[in-house]
Structures are given as C-alpha cells and as structure tokens.
Subunit: 368 residues, 2 copies
C-alpha cells in the first residue's frame, strides 16, 4: 500500500490524537476527512469487533444541519422516503437522488425537532446539493455543517460500555432512535445505530473540545471489557451487506438497483426530487441489482476498481467490495448483477486484476 | 506516513497504470480520486520540474459540464467574475461562492461554445451545487461529469514535448487559451495552463480509453528531454503562491480574504450567488488575508492541520501549507494573517506541532 501525504485538506478529527495513539495502520479519506481502516489487522479487528467492543472515530460522517421554518419542507424534497411519520427522536435511513433518480448519498437523517434535522452523510458533499436547492428556492432554512463528530461504539459489549459512561438509561434506546445524554455537563445525541451488524451506538459529539475527553472516558471505563479502537470493518460490513456509497453504488445507480426500493415511497413522497424518474423505475423494476457474491479460492486483494462479473464472454455485472471472510471461509463480496444472472446460486466468473479468473456464486441474501 | 487503503471509492484514473509504473510513492485523495504527491522525493521532483518536463496525472481535476440553452445564464449565476467578455477558446479562473460569500471552489472554466462549458474543479463536489441550482430553477441545461481527465505537461521543456506530440502549432496557444488538437484521430482540448509557475499545458483527455496511449506517446517522444512523471509539487506551488482549496481556503473564507478580490466584479456581475455579501466585503475589505510567510529554522514537517500564527499571546492567523525550499533556503509557507500583522516584514511566531515555536516573517509577495 502507498503512503498518504498529510495536508489540511484531508481533515483531522477531534479524535485523531486518540486514533494515532492507538496505532492506526492505514487510512482512507471520507468527506475530505481521515478515516482509519486498520488497527491491528483487518482480520484481528474483525474478530475483536464480533466479540468485544470498539470505539470508532467516524467523525467523517459529517452532518448537514437544516434549521428553520422550511427545514421539514426541504427534507421532504430531498428524499423519496415518506417522512410524514418521522418524529423527533427518530433516525431514518434515506436515499437521496438527483432528478434522474441517481444516488447522491445514502445518509441517516436525525430529527432533532420539527424545524431541525441533521443529515449524517456518506462520502459526497451533500451540503452543496442541499444549499444549492435551498438558495435557489429562497427557502427559509439555514443549511450548514455544524461542529458535530460522530463516535461509534460497536460490538456485543457496546451497551455495557455505554451504560458505564452515560448511565443505564442508554439501554432503553431502541434501534434507530436517539436520546439526549449528559457528558461532562454537555447534552449529546446518542443513537442506537452504526455501520456494523454487531449492535451499538453512535454518539453525535457536539463540540470538538470534548472529543478527546469522551474518547478517554470510554477507554478508561472499558478496560475490563477489552475495549479497543476500531473502524468500519471491511469483512464484517460485506458479510452484513452494508453498502458503501462510492464503492457499491454511485450516481449511476438508482435506489432500486441498490436494493433500497423499500425506502422509496414514490406514491406518497410527492414533490421530492427525482420522483418522476423513480416512478418509472418502481414500475419497471431495475435491470441490475446489488447481490452477495462468494468468490472461490485464495483471499482476494483489495478491490480498488470494479471487477467484471462474466458469464462466458458477456459481462453481467461487477464486484465493487470484496474480502476474505475467516468465519465463512470464502471471499465475501458485494456486486451489481444483471437480471439475467441475479437468481440465487447462479454461477459466474469474476475477473480479478492481472487477468485472473475466479469462479463465483451469486446469493440472494448476505451472510450476517 | 500511514498507508492508504485501496477502494473503488478512491477512484483510479485513466493514467493510474502509468503513475504506478513510474513509482509514485505517496498519494492524496482529491475529488474522490487518487492524486500522486511524490515520485522520487518532493525535493528531487521539484528540481526536475524546474529544469525539465513532467507529465502529471491530474484527472482529479474533474469537469462539471454545462450544456444547453441556459448554460451561459447558469455560469453567470455561479461566479462573481464578469464573464461577459469570455469567448470560446478561453479559460477563466473563477471563484465560486455560496450566498454568504464563502468559497465553494476555485475552478478554471473552459468555454467550449456559447452553450457549452467545462468547469475544471478543485477539491469539492461542485457538481452537486450546480445541479441543485439548475434543478431548482428549472433551467434548460444539462449538468454532468463527463469522461474528461486532464493530463498536465509542466516545466521549461513542456512546449518542446507538446510540439513533438501535437505539432508545432501548440506553440501558438496563448496563456489561458486553448485549441483543439488531434491525437490518434481524437480531437482534444489543449490549454496553456497548469498548477505550476514553470509553464506548460493541460490536455483535457476526453475518453478514458486513450489515456494510456497518450501517456505512452508523451514518454516516448520526450526521452531525450528527460521527461518524468510528476505531480503538483508542494514546494514549487508555495513558492509561486498557488493556493489550494481545502488547504489555504475553505467555505469559511471570502474570495477577498484569499486575495481573489480582482476576480469579483460585484458591480457588474449582477445576479450571481453571494453578490450582496461580496458587495459588503468589497466595500469594507477583508480583516484577514492570504500572505507568504517564511518560517525560520530546520525544515518543517507536513502541515496536516493549521498552525497558529502568534504575536505574543494573541493568535493573529494560521499557516495552512508549508515546506522547505531548497532554492530559497527557508521554509516557505502560505497562511491567513489578520490585518494587524499582514504588513510586509512583520515578525510573528508560528506554533508547530508538539509545542515548537518558530520565528517567522510575513511577506507581501510570494517567491516565484
């Protein structure tokens, strides 16, 4: 792996000091911000995530804040998901598309109040899209990136660790709900959510100055729980079918291709951007869709560019994320497969770099 | 330096194969794309850039294409620069600001025709801003990212190399003008421009498939010119005062703070986003501004986060880019300095990481 050159443009986070002290070995860049990818090894991190508890610096999940009388109206324009039933205290995963139905981001929206939302974004400058629309339509809403940096606590012992720092009432937070919890006199949003299937929480740390005090408090409280620094784990997220914007989907894809059709209420979400295009897509269905794919043979390298999925001489899709799974003893992968070959157990070939051809099988469900 | 993890989200370019073969040692991520930062060493690359000719993969300068009857109207909304005199064949550097006058990008616009522009962007998803506005206002314009990847030829021998590949008429291209030139039957935009002060060209390579053929042709033709793979050079760009969006300026800054007031024709650019805010700024002038700063002592480390500029106990600015300059035998730096301390030859202190204090001097002009 090549080195990464430091610059202010690759922003540090309120927790970077802790991440470095814990020995992060590699990084990616996400929303112009550093995101660790490996601490001990991807496999060791994976084992630990499934058995203990990890603290993840996911400050790169930047927030787009909408605040003001038109915040709710603007939110409804932004997503084909029906937000009418959304109450303060809830988190909604919501696809955001352009006028052609192409995915711009797949964030989690956090409803703080009737006139105030955070959109916790994947890797694209969604702020620019939201600001552009709000400005052009003269909407009465402030749109900005606040000083809020999520810290995720993930793994089977996450609840125990959180209870020690925030009190037992965190145990009552339901999935994709949040509450306000006190830390050193500051009231923070704590949600039961996170980018793993091991369960856990995301703390929306408001105010960079309390980043390291909170980081340290968590490590102090969790010593006997074997708490460790971690990060979204490539193997675990593929096993769980957790998609990554920019990897498994881009602006070229509709939500339906990404298996996100259930978040598109095109009949009721009237007035959202891209609705006309999505009505068409919803009616006809997509011609390609995200699938779990098992690739045979030795551990594959990192997927730095899409790998063609072949049926004989014809390309019928592409793999966009892949890793060796120690638990399932196969290479687990996420790919987009054409309708002709997306039925479970369809056998295909995957073209790895340097011309290597591997047998692979399309599955209907992910591993976790 | 930590390693960078490969993923499709950090996009490869049509020239990545060549960049890797030439031994790129480190990368940054720019517009979700890989950009090499070092080949031999930053200093060796710098020497070579100033004496020979380099081929730079700057595909990460993605294009936002505007095409259609409203393209010109939308362009005028996007920038405070007066575009009325811009003709097809011209390139314009143009600040783009939000409604508060905060910088969103500082691209170079390329006017292909009255109804067709490319905006060659710095590191932010300007596409989202432009698409958002165009959609909200129902403008008749297509806004998209085309398959166009700039390749820069920079250095004193750039013209000679270009003439060998594209013919002698490239010599007639004036600064910030472009022409259409043939390569293997494909007509490409070739501009006299680039992110160095050594002179050179940018080829807007349309069609990823001809990326490597062009790359190879340039290296083949330039053997006796000591052509080498290169990249924007940190030392050279600081010496020349070439700003970097995300490093030396962010959304927090106005064009006037960045010394770009001369590109803001707020009296004539009526209807552009942010005009009201910029009128105010133009009248009052900025209270802080970009300056050249020389930092004494041994070579400084990479500037991964702003370094405070101090006058006694008061912070009066920050350094955002810095490097040791072999030619000027000092650390050259770019920073934002408050009005109280921006006069040439003002002496200040710079706080480096780990509490190190360095004497420094503010200058009125850059080195190159």
């Amino acid at each position: 792996m090549a080195a990464i050159s430091p610059s202010r443009r690759l922003r540090r986070t309120p927790f970077s000091e802790g991440v470095e002290a814990m020995g992060a070995k590699a990084y990616t860049v996400y929303n112009h911000m550093l995101l660790a990818t490996v601490f001990r090894s991807v496999e060791e991190d994976y084992r630990h995530l499934k058995s203990a508890v990890q603290v993840w610096d996911v400050a790169c999940e930047r927030q787009v804040e909408l605040r003001g009388p038109d915040a709710g109206k603007l939110m409804k324009m932004l997503t084909p998901r029906d937000l009418r039933g959304m109450l303060p205290g809830q988190c909604y995963y919501m696809p955001i598309v352009d006028q052609t139905g192409g995915m711009l981001n797949d964030p989690v929206a956090v409803k703080l109040a009737e006139d105030r939302y955070w959109i916790s974004i994947a890797d694209s400058d969604l702020l620019f899209w939201v600001k552009g629309i709000a400005h052009a339509l003269h909407m009465e809403v402030l749109v900005d990136e606040p000083d809020v940096s999520p810290l995720a606590i993930q793994g089977p012992k996450a609840e125990e660790l959180m209870a020690r720092v925030f009190g037992d009432s965190v145990r009552n937070i339901r999935f994709f709900r949040f509450g306000w919890f006190d830390f050193q006199g500051r009231s923070l949003v704590v949600a039961r959510s996170g980018y793993s299937k091991q369960g856990g929480f995301e703390i929306y740390v408001e105010g960079s100055d309390i980043g390291m005090p909170l980081w340290n408090a968590l490590f102090e409280a969790g010593k006997d729980l074997d708490v460790h620094a971690g990060c979204p784990n490539l193997i675990e997220r593929i096993e769980g079918g957790l998609l990554s914007y920019g990897n498994d989907m881009t602006r070229a894809n509709t939500p339906h291709e990404c298996g996100l059709g259930r978040f598109c209420d095109t009949q009721t979400a009237i007035g959202c951007v891209g609705r006309d295009s999505l009505l068409r897509v919803a009616q006809d269905g997509p011609v390609r869709q995200i699938r779990a794919i098992a690739i045979e043979g030795a551990p594959v390298p990192g997927c730095g560019a899409p790998w063609p999925i072949m049926a004989g001489q014809d390309q019928v899709g592409q793999v966009t994320s892949a890793a060796w799974s120690p638990d399932y003893e196969t290479n687990v992968a996420i790919g987009m497969v054409r309708m002709t070959h997306w039925e479970p157990y369809t056998e295909v070939d995957v073209l790895l770099p340097e011309g290597e051809v591997r047998a692979a099988t399309v599955f209907g469900v992910f591993w976790n």
